[in-house]
Assembly symmetry: C2
Homo-oligomer: 122 residues x 2
DNA sequence: CTGTATCCGATAAGATACTG
DNA sequence: CAGTATCTTATCGGATACAG
């Protein structure tokens, strides 16, 4: 899962253009990666171990989970700390204040989609 | 741009699983398609013709614009009407009440991203 | 003017094997 | 336990040509 973008592609240039124009595009770009919001919500609910997350979101694969955690950490939405108690896993994940703020906004969006997206299912 | 998904792929099945689990995933899936939010915002501001949208969002290509308009219409976020005045274009696009609601939520998200996403740019 | 059809390159997702 | 590396397939975005 190494991400090398061809920086000369129109595809890449367009995405860069959009992200510079409005940071919303950058945010959506993170959230739209599959499983991202699920990982965020799981961590919000206190699920703080890699293996435990993997178990809860059981269709996700290792590399994708690792990738999402890294991405969320990069954007300072979650934080990873070492757990030296020794009994359980080595690392813990939890939301940062920014992460909480975002999850609140996502809750609102979720309510919106729950009430309005159904019309397309009939 | 015909979208035929291989309904047996794990990729497809996972996406379906996520969308059924929470409609938020479906909403994000629409919004994350490139140019979608830009089209939405342009229409919100009164830009109501295909050619005019094409001109404003000048890096978008015809087929992608057409595709986004169709998608937004399917989800009842915008509406398309025939304009019989004869002088200008044939069709007009405008937001539905649901579309307005969504654009308000996106404005909030936008404010969030403007204040918090910069930390990653340094 | 408002699109549609087709082809192809770029990126994302998943499977699998492996590591400190 | 918590990942990384590599490979394959699926999907998306863009270019171009064309049509009602």
């Amino acid at each position: 899962m190494i991400e090398e973008r061809k920086i000369t592609s129109t595809n890449y240039l367009n995405q860069t253009y959009l992200e510079e124009k409005c940071t919303l595009n950058e945010l959506i770009n993170i959230l739209s990666k599959r499983w991202t919001t699920d990982v965020l919500f799981e961590i919000e609910e206190g699920n703080d171990r890699f293996s435990s997350l993997k178990k809860s979101i059981d269709l996700i694969s290792d590399n994708v989970l690792a990738n999402r955690l890294k991405l969320l950490e990069q954007y300072k939405l979650i934080k990873k700390t070492k757990d030296d108690s020794g009994t359980t896993g080595k690392y813990q994940y939890f939301l940062t204040p920014i992460g909480y703020k975002l999850s609140e906004l996502l809750d609102q969006l979720c309510q919106f989609s729950d009430s309005h997206m159904n019309s397309n299912f009939t």
